[in-house]
Symmetry: C2
Subunit: 234 residues, 2 copies
DNA sequence: CGTAGATTTGAGTTCTGTCAAATTTTGTGG
DNA sequence: CCACAAAATTTGACAGAACTCAAATCTACG
């Protein structure tokens, strides 16, 4: 996982429209023409697509530093990104402008290529998780992802953000919301997770125990474990 | 869907290692370092990852013109591409070489960006299909994809390639092989599909009827319907 | 023509989805 | 700070879709 935030932000600073968002605010990912790019600056976002019958499917959780180009979700009409955290910040750009910058700056070009490969890797892993694992394993996978991305050591163990509702989790993991609830209850009674003092947060006694509950934990670790914490460059 | 084959092939001609493959031949997608890129030239390939318990998950069917960079499947150890057709041809390159060429040739750079967005779009749609649709709808989705990509009008209807075994289909659609068999039998008795004279081919009376059986058919059409047939440039 | 491998199909099981009722949490105003 | 209403979550009972296992059938190929 490369941290694109530092490298990319400086180049984009002039071209970008800054957007401060509140929880549950949606921003469209319109396909071409007028293709847009979002750079996530702060907070967690969800990349969503509408599904038949008033449902959604959440393709990925987006973290600060992620760059998403609307063409990457092109065939899926109505795709958007949704703020999951209480507040977030994203920068909106035109793809044409991003591309022009990339042509001038080789470092930026590399970061964009890597960032797009990273999105593909994330989608691939997510596909493997929802396609090949049981409900319990999928929920464990999501907890591991959020623990690796946002976890902090506290007195009650590794505490991490859980800004998704039961319905969000269900749409992310291709499960039913009731089933998610059942699985979470089971994990609570097994001692795998515990309610944190802070709202929207969970705590886990031992990340290793969570990882034991998910066969794809090594892949999650390779993708989400950050060698360094992202630093806001501007 | 942009046709990258023409544009990309000419640039890559000197750098590429040409590989002629037979059915079921596997080529590794090794992660960095020594990152590789494959350009599909002829035949259908499957992008696979190993799953716990001797299974595989097929992430995508690859068609001529597709470019796949091993980093796009980075966290998933053991990923490979598998020849699905009787014979195929792929070109293997170093990512560093591809990137160097892209820096010199703006058209190539655009094609690479679009090709990577296309892969992401394919993974996203596939994720939506396996996550949100019933078994019957998933099988219909795969038939629509192959019909749009390889279909040809014949006296017995639209005939298309079906180079995947039951197990391949199951691994692509996140179903059990037995279930795939049951669904295919049902579609045959409903007249949706018929065995073609040629082996490894199926025929469908009406693509519209297939599309009625799959809620995500419009997205499949947007992604896979080719405005022009790919032309081999070299 | 016979064998090895793949596919089909049946019977029974399991996991997840559906629906509804009970409970908890959240937000608002006194 | 408390009370209340609205929303979200939990949980039980049941139904249904898909999985597992095994036997029968078909196909490819020597």
């Amino acid at each position: 996982m490369k941290n694109t935030l530092d490298v990319v932000s400086q180049q984009f600073e002039r071209q970008a429209v800054r957007i401060a968002t509140r929880k549950r605010q949606s921003h469209p990912l319109a396909p071409q023409p007028n293709e847009t790019v979002y750079l996530i600056r702060k907070g967690l976002f969800l990349a969503r697509i509408p599904m038949p019958g008033d449902q959604h499917h959440i393709l990925s959780i987006l973290y600060p530093g992620d760059v998403i180009r609307s063409n990457a979700l092109r065939p899926l009409e109505g795709a958007d990104i949704l703020t999951a955290s209480e507040t977030g910040e994203a920068w909106r750009l035109r793809w044409s402008a991003v591309e022009a910058l990339a042509r001038e700056d080789h470092g930026l070009e590399c970061q964009l290529f890597d960032s797009m490969a990273d999105l593909a890797a994330r989608l691939a892993l997510h596909s493997a998780i929802t396609a090949g694992l049981t409900g319990d394993e999928r929920v464990a996978a999501m907890m591991i992802e959020l623990a690796l991305r946002t976890g902090k050591e506290t007195h009650s163990g590794l505490t991490f953000e859980m800004p998704l509702s039961r319905i969000d989790i269900a749409e992310y993991l291709a499960l039913n919301a009731d089933t998610v609830s059942r699985i979470a209850s089971r994990m609570r009674s097994n001692g795998l997770i515990a309610q944190s003092s802070a709202r929207d947060h969970l705590a886990c006694r031992s990340l290793a125990a969570l990882e034991d509950a998910c066969p794809l934990a090594p892949a999650l670790r390779r993708l989400h474990a950050a060698p360094v914490q992202p630093q806001l460059a501007i």
